[in-house]
């Protein structure tokens, strides 16, 4: 074998490897996409060419599946979780990064340690508490539950960033005439923005995908899309085409997100640890 054919072989091997990876990652997505537009009889066939129909999408928005309302619940819950978590986490991260507390690093570690408790352990007490305060089956309950695991991670992600920002800048701002809060807003937050954005994306993904709390704490009104998916398991068996249509709605923001912000996300993660 001469050098050239060897080179060609290596190239071919590379393409084969790429194809396998693409198949593994895009196969399921393609499958869901196809199933969502198949008519019921086609679902169990392996046909690649079929007559696409919008009937599944239409059905999924109707009773009992209610994709519209449930997606709206998901959007509201995720959005509110982010809107409350990020300022809280940023403020806490700043405090943990800049001030010395009696007990030292016990506090930030303690915040993280709450995450070692499995959700199954706290779900029953949580359910009882929410029932007591009449928050069962509300979006508020889900926002609170989501924040319980989003905020600690966000604190740690943002803290790493703020740790790497020299004190000089905010001290300069204070001497230049800003109050401490203003210095944080004008200098620390803009400089930590890649870190805050990274945390935001992370929080978005985990609260969007959250299933367990939503399953237990909601019944009807506040049910999210992710729990709603279960309603496609009917007494007539699993309605795969509806499930696929719903799944499409669930993964859509992720697909959009990965297309536009993935680079930013990895950059944020990298610079946080390297600097």
């Amino acid at each position: 074998m001469n050098v050239r054919s060897k080179h060609r072989l290596a190239k071919a091997a590379r393409y084969v490897a790429l194809a396998v990876v693409v198949l593994i990652f895009f196969g399921p997505i393609a499958w869901i996409l196809a199933t969502a537009f198949k008519s019921a009889p086609d679902v169990y066939s392996l046909k690649i060419f079929f007559t696409p129909t919008l009937q599944n999408i239409r059905d999924s928005f109707a009773t009992p599946f209610l994709v519209g309302e449930r997606t709206w619940n998901s959007i509201v819950v995720t959005f509110c979780t982010l809107v409350f978590s990020l300022p809280i986490a940023t403020a806490a991260a700043y405090a943990f990064s800049r001030f010395r507390f009696p007990g030292g690093s016990i506090w930030p570690i303690g915040v993280l340690a709450t995450q070692f408790i499995p959700p199954v352990v706290v779900i029953i007490p949580l359910f009882i508490v929410f029932r007591q305060v009449n928050l069962l089956d509300t979006r508020t309950a889900l926002v609170i539950a989501n924040m319980s695991f989003v905020v600690p991670y966000a604190i740690w992600m943002i803290k790493g960033f703020i740790d790497s920002i020299p004190m000089d800048m905010e001290e300069a701002a204070q001497i230049d005439g800003a109050s401490r809060l203003r210095a944080i807003w004008d200098v620390v937050v803009p400089v930590a923005l890649p870190g805050i954005a990274t945390a935001a994306i992370f929080c978005f993904v985990v609260s969007w995908n959250e299933f367990f709390y939503a399953l237990v704490l909601t019944q009807q009104d506040a049910t999210t899309m992710q729990v709603g998916l279960m309603s496609a398991r009917t007494e007539r068996g699993d309605v795969w085409e509806i499930m696929a249509a719903m799944g499409l709605v669930i993964i859509l923001p992720m697909l959009v997100l990965s297309r536009f912000v993935q680079k930013y996300f990895t950059k944020g993660l990298m610079s946080g640890s390297v600097r």
Binding site: E171, I175, G177, A178
Partner: protein, 360 residues
């Protein structure tokens, strides 16, 4: 513009005492340099004037106003940081304008004053750039412009030149001196570089271990160091310090015998002579004898290191001096510029008055 007064100021961090009993008063428009090795408390002193640290006890006044626990923004001071402390997400123009912006000064007025400050430090063409697109020297100019864009009561400079290369440092030093003279603003400048201190200061406060060792004009500090620390810290190469003993008006150590009318009381002492105050002569006619240990040509002079007894003594000889390692030589100190220190306390013993000493 205002004076700055520190009275009995102490600063403790937990059990660590950074400063004890500091008294310092800086006149209106004066350029005071705090000089000392790292960890001597000079930066802490400045940060307390800035309001970034609060004193554990004592009084700090800017003008007549007690500012002990006043927020930095209320103190009307401006500071230049060692690492510049620029805002990386803002352009040079926004950086310089920030002090005006937070004080609510209008856009048009702001632009004019930013322009004026930038021109003063020759930053005019760089206003649109971001700090990361600038060189170290340019960044420090931005920091300076940000400090002078409004007229503060006091300028604080925390080792502003130590991140610059040697050549740029000399240029910037002159610029800072000129700027301060032109603006006439009271300035406190922290450095560990004695050349910077000597060249810039109206007065220098030499600090060590949380205390002011000596406060005086650069000439006073140089000519009459109050103690061994100041003597050894100021000057390059440093003052030669030879341990020995005085008896009957003569200082004696191995190979050393120096007589001086001012040497009064007998006892152990340390003789101090600056290299430039020593003449290299024939061994027969000199009070100090030894053999040449090394010869270094600096360009304008020859630094001759001589081994006498157990001490090495450096003398600054003329360029033309020629001698070889191992040669026997004699050293003749200028009798008007001899220093003697107490071996126990390290204090200067001499009838001549020492200005600014006496913090003990």
């Amino acid at each position: 513009m205002a004076s700055v007064t520190l009275k009995n100021v102490a600063k403790r961090f937990g059990h660590f005492t950074a400063l004890e009993q500091l008294d310092l008063s800086i006149g209106d428009g004066e350029f005071l340099v705090l000089l000392g090795p790292s960890g001597c408390g000079k930066t802490t002193t400045m940060r307390m004037v800035a309001g970034l640290e609060y004193p554990s006890s004592g009084e700090i006044r800017i003008g007549d106003r007690l500012v002990n626990e006043v927020q930095p923004k209320e103190r009307d001071v401006a500071m230049v940081f060692q690492n510049y402390g620029l805002y990386p997400h803002m352009s040079v123009e926004q950086n310089i304008a920030y002090p005006l912006k937070v004080r609510g000064i209008g856009k048009t007025d702001r632009a004019a004053r930013v322009r004026a400050a930038a021109d003063k430090v020759e930053l005019g063409p760089l206003l649109a750039r971001k700090p990361r697109e600038l060189s170290g020297g340019q960044r420090q100019r931005v920091a300076l412009a940000r400090a002078i864009v409004r007229t503060p009561q006091v300028f604080l400079m925390d080792e502003p030149l130590s991140n610059l290369d040697a050549k740029l440092r000399v240029t910037m030093r002159a610029e800072i001196k000129h700027l301060q003279h032109e603006l006439g603003v009271t300035t406190i400048y922290v450095t560990h570089d004695q050349i910077e201190a000597m060249t810039l200061a109206d007065r220098v406060a030499v600090m060590n271990e949380g205390r002011i060792q000596q406060l005086g004009t650069p000439a006073e500090i140089y000519d009459t160091p109050a103690n061994l620390f100041v003597a050894g810290f100021i000057g390059s190469p440093p003052m030669n310090l030879i341990p020995g003993a005085v008896s009957g008006g003569t200082f004696k150590a191995t190979d050393v015998s120096v007589t001086h009318p001012d040497f009064g009381a007998d006892g152990a002492g340390i003789l101090g002579i600056r290299p430039e105050d020593i003449e290299v002569v024939d061994p027969q006619v000199a009070g100090i004898v030894g053999s040449v240990y090394a010869v270094e040509l600096t360009g304008e002079a020859n630094l001759v290191t001589v081994l006498t007894g157990t001490s090495r003594v450096i003398a600054r000889a003329s360029r033309a001096w020629d001698g070889k390692i191992g040669d026997k030589v004699g050293l003749r100190p200028d009798p008007a510029r001899i220093h003697l220190f107490d071996q126990q306390t390290g204090l200067r013993i001499e009838p001549r008055r020492v200005p600014g000493a006496g913090n003990h």
